[in-house]
Symmetry: C2
Subunit: 367 residues, 2 copies
Amino acid sequence: MSTRRDFLQIAGLSTLALSLPLADTLAASVFSKEDKVLRVAIMGLGSYGTRVAEAMKESKRAKLVGVISGTPSKVETWRQKYGIPDKNCYNYENFDQIKENPDIDAVYVITPNSLHKPYGIRVAKAGKHVICEKPMALNAAEGREMIAACKAAGVHLLVGYRMHFEAKTLEVVRMQRAGEFGKTLFFQGLSGFIIGDPTQWRLNRELAGGGAMMDIGIYSINGSRYMLGEEPIWVTAQEVKTDPVKFKEGVDETITFQMGFPSGAVASCLSTYALNNLDKFYLDGTKGFAEMQPSTGYGPIQARTNNGPIEREHITHQTVQMDEMAAIILDGKKPVIPVDGEEGLKDLVIVDAIYEAVKTGKKVMIG
Amino acid sequence: MSTRRDFLQIAGLSTLALSLPLADTLAASVFSKEDKVLRVAIMGLGSYGTRVAEAMKESKRAKLVGVISGTPSKVETWRQKYGIPDKNCYNYENFDQIKENPDIDAVYVITPNSLHKPYGIRVAKAGKHVICEKPMALNAAEGREMIAACKAAGVHLLVGYRMHFEAKTLEVVRMQRAGEFGKTLFFQGLSGFIIGDPTQWRLNRELAGGGAMMDIGIYSINGSRYMLGEEPIWVTAQEVKTDPVKFKEGVDETITFQMGFPSGAVASCLSTYALNNLDKFYLDGTKGFAEMQPSTGYGPIQARTNNGPIEREHITHQTVQMDEMAAIILDGKKPVIPVDGEEGLKDLVIVDAIYEAVKTGKKVMIG
C-alpha cells in the first residue's frame, strides 16, 4: 500500500509521477517487501493506545504517524513524544479529512467499544484500512455493518487479536492442528480480573456494550475457537452478580458459559470482573494436553504440554501484531489464525448467543 | 465399640463378664482411646477393595478381619493373604448372619453402586456400622433410605470420602475458612479419565446408576462443596457424548455442570470418561487462590496457593481414612469435613439435579 508513496516521497516525486511505468518498475526493484511500512494513526489515546504506540517503536513494518483524539492536550503530548506532524493530527469531528492525507495508510481504532462501528465505518469511508480493538463491535449486527462498509470501501478490516501472533500460542495451535494432542475434546478458558475505577467506560453499558464479557471474557471465546480449531454450534451461559452497585443493569460481572462443537468437544469458560488470578487456558485431548497460564496477558505467556514447557522468546505482543498486520495489509500475507472482520464477527455471534442464553436460560444454537 | 470386646478377649473373659462393673473400670484404665481398634469386613473384593485392604495394613485404628464376596476363589485368596478366620467369611446370601459375629464392628461396602443401598441396609440391620464407597447410593431417595435404616439400627453410616482427611486438602480448607483467600467466588473442578474395558460395571447403567458423573464427576461435586464451604442453590448442566456405543443410554460420558452458591460463588465443573489429565481443582478468591493438581487421585496431591506450594507428608489416603473413621466410630471424633450419610446425601441431591438439568436443559434449584 505504501510502497509507491514511500518511494515517491524518497525520490522526491509528486503523485503525478504515479502514471509513469518507470516509477513502478523502480519501486519494485529498489524496495523489497520488507521495506514497505504501514503508516498508522491511532484513534483513542488512552492507556491501551499508549501501549500500542510504545510497542510500535520496535515494529519494523508499522509506524505511528498520526493521532485522532477528542482531547487537544493528549494530542499535543503525543505530537511531541512521537514526533507526529501537525497535519496528521485529527479530532473526532474532522477525522474524515484523513481521506485527503496520503501519509496515513491505516487507523487503529482504540476507543470505547460503542465507537468501534461508527468510527470504523468513517475510517473505511475515508479510504483507510481499519484496525480495530476487540470486541470489533457491540454485537454481530454491528460487526456485519463494519465488514460491509470496509468491503465497499476496498479497505482491510483487522481486529486487534494480538494472541493470534504470539509464538507459544501458535506452537500449541500447530500441535493441535497436527493431531499431537489426539482428538481435542475439552477447552477451558478462565478470563477475569478485579476491575478498578467504577466510573470507567468499561462499566458503562452504553460505551462498553456489556461488562466483563466484552472486555475479558472474549479472550476465552476467541481462545476456545483457535485452541480447538473449530466453531461452536451451541452456547449455554449463567450469570452471577455479587455487586449490583458497581455492575449495573446490562453490565455483566460474572458469567460462566459453555460451548459445544461439531466434533463433540466442549468448552467451559469463565468471564469475570470480580476475581484476579484468572488467565488460564487448558486444552485436553485424547493423547495429550496444553496448559497456558498466563494465557492472554501482556507479559510472557507460559505454555506447557504433555511434552513439557514450550520455550519461545517473548516479544511485546503489540509489536509482533503490528508487524504482522503490516504484512497482511501490505504483502497479502495470510496469518495462521485469521484477524479479519469475519473472525471478529464470529466472536460477536457468540457474545450475542451468550447474552441470549443468560437471558433465556436456554441453550442457544449457532449457525 | 470394640474396647470392651478387645479387653475381654485379651483378658480371657467371656462376654458374660460384661455385666461386671470391674470389667468396664479395668477396660477404661488399661486401654487409652488409641488402643481401640475398628474391626472391619470388606464387602466386594475388587480392585478398590484390594487397595483399601492393603492400606489398612498400615492403619493403627482399623483392622481387616472379615470379607464378604460372591466369588469363593477370591475369599480363599483373601483369607490366606490377610489371615482372615473362616468364621469371618461371608457371601451375599448369608452375610446377614454377621449379626451374630461379635468380632466384626463395621462393613466397608465396595460393591457396584446399585448394591450400596440394599447391602448397606442389610449391614445396618445386622447391627454393624456401614462404611460405603461413594456415591453412597444411586440417587437422593436411596440415600435417604440408607440414612433412615442406619439411624433405626443405631449404627454409623460413613461414606468413603478419603479426600476429607487428606492433609493438603485440609490445609486449603483451613485457609478458605480462615478467609485467607478473601471471598471465594469461583471453584473449578475438572474430573475425568479415559475409561477402559467397555464391559465393566461402571459402564452398566443398572449397576452404576449412570456414567462418569457417578464415578469421577462426584469428586468435583464434593470438592466444590468443601472447597467453597457452602451448599449450592442451583445447578445447570450440559451433556455431550462422542461415543454412543461405549456409553449407552443412561451412561454419561461427558457432562459440564455449573453450580451457584448463596454467597454468589459459582462452580464450573467437568465430568468425563473421554479424557485423561483431568484431576484439577481451582479455587479463586478476592485475596488469593488455591490450585490442586492432582486434586483427588490416589498419588500425592499437589497444592499451591498464592503463598506458594503446600508441603505435607503423603500418607496413603485409605490408611488415613480408615484411621479417622475408626476414631469417628470408636471415639465420637468430629471430622473437619463430614463423611456421614447426610454428607453423602448432599452430593446425591446434586447428582439428581445435574441429571435433571441435562434432561430438561433448565436451571434446577436445590433446597
